[in-house]
Structure formats: C-alpha cells, structure tokens
C-alpha cells in the first residue's frame, strides 16, 4: 500500500455545551501522524471531543483545523476523518464486503479499482474468506476488523477511535491494538483514541490527555502518567478503575 501522511489536528478555543449541560472548552494541537490517547471519567467529554472533531456536533465558538484547512463549518462527510465507535459500526443487513465498500462509495457503486482495494483491505485485516458474511455471523472482534478495513479503504489522514475495543476480551483487545499499530505504520494517519483502559494507552500511544469536567486537565507522556507522575485526579481515576475490577 502506498505510504500516506497524517494531518495535524488543531482545536482552537473550541467551546461547546449540550442543552442544559456543562460548558466544555478544548485547546489542542496533535502533530501529523501522532497517536494520542484520551482518558477520563465517563461524562468528562472524551466522546464529545471526538464528535466535535468528526463534525457530529457543532461548537458554539472556536475552530477545528485539520491539515491546513478550517473544517469548523464542514459537515462530517467533507472532513478528512474516519471514526470507529464501540459498536454499531456495521449495517446489519449488508455483507462484510458491502460494509467495507461503503468506505469507497456511499451508494455502493464500486469501480474495479475500488473492488480491488476492498478485497485487499479485507485480507489485510485478516478477514479473507468472510467477504459474504453478514455482521451477525461474525464475532465482536471480527466486526471491529471490518470497521478497520473500511478505515483502510477510506484512506483519511485522521482516525478517531471511541472506545472501539471496550467490549472485547483482553487477548482480542491486544490483537486489535497491534492491528491498529500496524495500520498506522502503513498509512501514517493521525490517531486519537478514547479509552478507559490504561493498557490501551500504554500499548499504542506515546502521549496521553486526561479529560476532566469538559476540558483537557493534563497532557503528557503516557509513560510518565502511568508511572504515577500524572496529576492526583488521574491517580484517583485510575484507582477507581482498579477498585471496580
């Protein structure tokens, strides 16, 4: 596959609030091709941050810049972004091949070149032979692989992951993280991943952002966060996570 460059993601004084909800504000610079982990309590704003970058939510003020362009006013399909959710990434009545093909054409009118790219991506994600399966005939891990295959054929410079492996067991999870790392080596896209699991961050990202109360409360190297050098709030958050297990 042709190597490709990621794009810088910049949030400039981005302000947003759900009706009746807490005011959120984000300032962030992610250099091209970097992998960043977002951690923080439920409801802290991790998903909102990703939704703002993808364009599913419109900010009240501020700017979203991707690459050299201002995308703040652009609808989701005009932004150079792919996103994977925790579930429901696939249309249940379409086959694996069709679900991946949607990444090339939203009306499923595919050229021969598109078809070749689709089968290559399916092979790359270890799904060869399962092209005609329906999502319900796949395991949870396989479904997320299909979503990753679609990311591959879309070839967007930014990939957003919203707790995509939260419902998978530990071994599958590690496998998926390795797959993301491999794809990153190939395509060099910028990756922003929301997660609750410190091991995800450890395995994939050098940089970690701690989100709390609708803003980025701390920003630093993943290793130092996990070595206990993060803010006390982060330690409390991790502690709660441990007690929960």
């Amino acid at each position: 596959m042709v190597p490709q460059q990621g794009a810088v993601v910049k949030l400039d004084a981005l302000a947003f609030a759900y009706p009746g909800g807490q005011a959120m504000r984000f300032d962030l610079l992610v250099p091209a091709s970097e992998i960043v982990a977002l951690m923080g309590p439920s409801g802290s704003g991790k998903s909102t941050l990703l939704n703002l970058i993808a364009g599913f939510e419109r900010p009240d003020s501020g700017q979203v810049l991707i690459g050299s362009g201002d995308v703040t006013r652009l609808p989701p399909f005009k932004r150079p972004v792919s996103m994977i959710f925790q579930e429901n990434n696939l249309f249940s009545h379409l086959t694996v091949e069709q679900n991946v093909g949607l990444g090339r054409s939203p009306t499923l009118r595919l050229s021969d070149g598109d078809r070749a790219a689709v089968s290559e991506a399916i092979a790359r994600t270890g799904l060869a032979g399962k092209e005609q399966r329906l999502p319900r005939q796949l395991s949870g891990g396989e479904r997320q692989r299909v979503a990753l295959a679609r990311v591959l054929v879309r070839r967007q410079p930014v990939l957003l992951l919203d707790e995509p492996f939260a419902s998978l067991g530990p071994a599958l999870r590690d496998e998926m993280l390795d797959l993301v790392a491999e794809l990153h080596r190939d395509q060099q896209m910028t990756v922003i991943m929301a997660t609750h699991d410190p091991r995800d961050a450890e395995r994939l990202s050098n940089r970690l952002l701690f989100i709390e109360n609708g803003t980025i409360a701390a920003d630093g190297a993943t290793s130092s966060f996990l070595a206990g050098q993060g803010p006390p709030a982060f330690a409390r958050y991790l502690g709660e996570r441990k007690r929960l297990r």
């Binding site: 993808a54 364009g55 989701p76 579930e87 990434n89 009306t107």
Partner: protein
C-alpha cells in the same frame, strides 16, 4: 397445575374474568347461531349480490385507505427522522396523536365542516371546479377521514422504527457522505421494511371494521360497509336473516385479517408512544431539506385542517343555548355515567387477568407458557377481532326474545365498551404489576401477606397511577363510542355521540358542531390525563 396457595386465588380470579369475557362474546354468537339455525333458509338466500357488493366495498375502501395512509406516512416519518431537532417538532408529534384520541364522529364532523357542502372550503372548491361543490360524501369522504386517522398513526409507528436505528449508524452515514437516496436505501428502508407489513395490516384492520366514519360519511347502498349494513339491517329493515349473513361474512373477514396479521408478526393493539428524540447527527442537504419541509407542512395541514375546522365550527354554534338544553344535560349525564361504569368494569376485569398471568408465569418457573397463561395474556386482546357491532348484533337478536331490546341499552354499552378497552388498560397496568410482583413476591410469602391485605398494602400503592391511566383511557374510549349505542340507543337512553348523530341526521349542523367540540374536548382531556399519569414515574 402445581400452583401454591397464594397463586391459586389470583388464578381463580383471572379465570372468572375470562369467563365474563367468554359470556359476552359467547352470548353474541349464541344469539347469532340460534337465529341462523332457525332461519337458515333466509340467511342463505341473503348471500346475494347486495351482500357481495357490500363486502367488496368494505375491502376496497380499507385497501385504498391503507395505501393512502401508509405511503405518505413513509415520507412524513423519514422527514421527521431526518430533522431530529427543529422548532415545533414536539408539537407536530403531539398533534399527530390527537386523531387517535378523537371520537370517530367528531373527526367525521371535522371533515364535513371543512369539505362538506357548506364546509369552509366549499366556496374555494366550487370556484376551482367551476361547479357547485356537492360536498364530500361516499368513498372520497370515507377515505379522507380514514387517512386523517391513520396517516398520523402510521407516521408515528414508522418514525418509532426509524428512531430505533442506532445513533452511531446515522453518524456513520454522515461521515461516509450518504445522500438522501443512499441513506434511504441503506439505512431507512431496511428499518422501515420490517415495520411496514405490520403497520399496513393494522391500518387495514382499523379501516375494515370502521363503523362511525362510514355511517356518517358513507351513504346509500353504494358506499356501505359490512358493519354499517348490519346496523341498517337491524335498525331499519329488521331483516334478521340478512343481519346474520352479513355478520358471518364480517367475522370471517376479520378472522382472515387477524390470521394474516399474526403471520406478519404485527400486534393488533400496537403502541405508538415515542421516546424523546435521541440526539442524532443528520446532515440533510438543502434540496432534501426543502422537500422534507414541504412534506411535513402538507401533513400538518391535512391533520390540522379538520381539527381546526371542528374548533371553529364548534365555537360558531350557539353554545350558550346548547348548554342550557335538557337533552344535552341528559345525554351528558348518561354518557358520563355509562363511561365511568364501563371504565370501572374494565379495570375490574383487567386486574385479575394481569394478576393471574403473572401468577401462572411464576408457577411454571421457566419453560413455555401454558394455554391458560396465553389466554390471560393475548386472549384478552382477541376481543378486538370481534367488532363491537357484531357483539351488539348478536345480543340484539338474542335479547329480542326476552322483551324490550332497548331496555338493555345501558348494560350493553357498559359491558361491550369495557371489553373493547380491556387490551389498552391491561397494557397500562401490567408492567407496573409485574415489576411490583418481582420485587415483593418473596417478601409477601415470608411475611404471610396475602389476599385483601396484600392488595391494599402492597399492590395498590404500586398500581394506583397506572390504574388511573387505564381508567381515563377506557373512559375516553367509551365516551366517544358510537357503536353499540347506535344499535341500542333510543329516546330513553341517549349518549352524547348518539345525540350528536341525531342532530346531524336532522340537519342541525350548528348544534352538531357545538356538541362535537364539547365531546372532543372531553375525550382529549381524558386522554391527556391518561398519558400524563402514565408518563410520571411513581
């Protein structure tokens, strides 16, 4: 049956309630059957071309009503789904719930006030056609009224199926850049396809047994359905043989429809309540938005028109004089009394059925539900297959042997309306009862609380609110009904819908409009209370 002691009482009560229902339906069929056997020759010869024509018209108008309701409803539902947030969306959804709560006769009057010979739109229509507008009667009138009822219902049901599509899939569609066409083909149609057969069958069923609308807007032998023909055979021609033949065809027809319905996996008392619209990411393009806005506006005018006409025509009536009329007082009192009794009876029947179902479910532990449990569960809603007119006709024929048929009017109205409201009331109280039972059952056993004290101390506090909902709902249904009372009504027993129908028949249109407004406000008020009590968490 291995039911332990506390279950046995509840099961017995449930069986008694089922028996009461059985008597109501069985008595009607006994009346029909006996008469059919005695005068089989007459009944047989009543299968003539008239009957054939009526049956054909019944199916024709139901089929057309279904197509005209469901096809536009698809566009309305997806327009609403594509715009999850805009000013007035909540209001439109509430407005779409109004026809469901409105008595048929009020809606019929609303349609006439708008499109009748002297309707608000008559001058416009006359100048458009270049001829004097003759008013909307017959097939076209029936269709307009049926679409008025069923388009909003279908739109709400289809919207519910669209809103069940996970929010992430709408996001995905937006990110992949699907336009209106691709979104419809890949997301909306698969969701709608599953819901459509059930919705269409439900609408067809409602229209096939529609009585009030056809009675008031249909006319003559050319626009008569089986239900109305049964009524005419009994009330005007007193042609029992014909009534029997018509009833048999009607029962066979509804049974066939229900069979198809259950094959399609539809529920004949579908719930059209909507959850609050989830926060959804939809990004329609300008061209599509313009199209959606016009679809929604058209639907709004179509549903809002007759409602507005009812209000305006009603306010134009001499309300002060009407309020002082003895006939109006009498009918109001009769209506309120009969509707209250009917609602109480309905609650009295639904509570043991719900309790027995739960007791049977607990008694069997896991495994498959037994026959009796299924009877207490869905059996009650099977009442809906036997239209009230058929039950009324059966009893009419039977009671004729025991004296003055019209003297039985109060009894018939109360019991038949109670049975008709039963499935709805049961649906209101069953979730609360089952939840309370799951929480308290063991505790009650341990403490030995059972029977009356259990009802008073444990069940009633949990059921008060849903019971009030069911009561208000049953009362509204009974209050607006012009079915059994059309058969049994007389100068001695008149309800509001009956009085309204009389005034319409004697061309006292302004009076009818005033009464329609009064009746509509009463029923909507009760329905509002029912949903209000139903929504609040106890």
């Amino acid at each position: 049956m291995t039911a332990s002691f506390p279950e046995r009482g509840r099961i017995t009560a449930g069986v008694l309630a089922l028996a009461a229902l059985g008597i109501l339906v069985g008595g009607a069929f006994a009346g029909l059957g006996q008469e059919a056997i005695q005068s089989w020759r007459g009944a047989f010869s009543a299968f003539d071309s008239y009957l054939l024509r009526v049956a054909r018209f019944t199916l024709l108008q139901a089929g057309l009503s279904t197509i005209l309701s469901v096809l536009p409803a698809i566009f309305v539902a997806r327009a609403l789904a594509r715009h999850p947030r805009f000013f007035g969306r909540g209001f439109i959804l509430q407005l779409f719930a109004v026809p469901l709560a409105l008595p048929g006769i009020v809606a019929a009057l609303g349609v006439l006030a708008l499109l009748g010979r002297a309707g608000f739109l008559a001058p416009l229509l006359s100048s458009l056609s270049g001829d004097t507008w003759q008013g909307i009667y017959g097939l076209s009138g029936i269709l307009v009224a049926h679409v008025f009822f069923n388009l909003p219902l279908a739109a709400r049901l289809l919207l519910a199926s669209l809103e069940a599509v996970p929010a992430d899939q709408w996001k995905l569609a937006a990110q992949l850049g699907m336009g209106a066409g691709a979104t419809f083909r890949l997301i909306e149609w698969p969701a709608l396809r599953d819901a459509l057969p059930g919705v269409a069958a439900l609408v067809f069923m409602v229209c096939a047994v529609s009585f009030t609308i056809v009675l008031t807007l249909g006319g003559g032998p050319r626009a008569t359905t089986l239900e109305v023909a049964i009524y005419q055979a009994l009330r005007f021609d007193f042609d029992l043989a014909r009534a029997i033949a018509l009833t048999l065809v009607q029962v066979a027809l509804t049974a066939a429809i229900v069979l198809v319905l259950s094959r399609l996996g539809a529920s004949i008392n579908a719930d059209a309540s909507l959850p609050a619209a989830p926060r959804r990411s939809v990004f329609p393009r300008p061209g599509e938005t313009a199209f959606n806005v016009s679809v929604i506006l058209l639907a709004l005018v179509f549903v809002g028109g007759p409602i507005a006409a009812t209000v305006i025509a009603g306010l134009g009536a001499d309300l002060a004089r009407l309020a002082g009329e003895r006939a109006v007082h009498g009918a109001t009192m009769t209506s309120l009394l009969l509707a209250s009794l009917s609602a109480f009876l309905c609650l009295l029947l639904s509570f043991p059925l719900v309790a027995a179902r739960r007791a049977l479910e607990m008694a069997r532990g896991g495994g498959r539900a037994g026959g009796l449990e299924r009877l207490t569960d869905t059996g009650a809603s099977m009442v809906l297959i036997v239209p009230p007119i058929v039950i009324g006709a059966g009893w009419f024929i039977l009671l004729r042997r025991f004296g003055d048929v019209f003297a039985f009017a109060p009894l018939m109205v109360v019991t038949v309306n109670a049975a008709m409201a039963l499935p709805f009331t049961m649906r209101a109280i069953r979730p609360a009862y089952d939840a309370a039972s799951a929480r308290h059952e063991k505790l009650c056993l341990a403490l030995g609380i059972s029977g009356w004290s259990r009802l008073r101390l444990v069940d009633w506090p949990a059921l008060r609110r849903p019971a009030a909902t069911g009561l208000a709902f049953a009362m509204a249904l009974s209050l607006g009904d012009l079915g059994v009372i059309a058969l049994f009504g007389s100068d001695r027993v008149k309800t509001l819908p009956y009085l309204l129908f009389e005034r319409m028949g004697s061309y006292r249109t302004a009076d009818a409009a005033g009464l329609a407004l009064f009746l509509g406000v009463l029923c909507l008020g009760l329905m509002f209370l029912a949903t209000h009590w139903g929504k609040e968490k106890s």
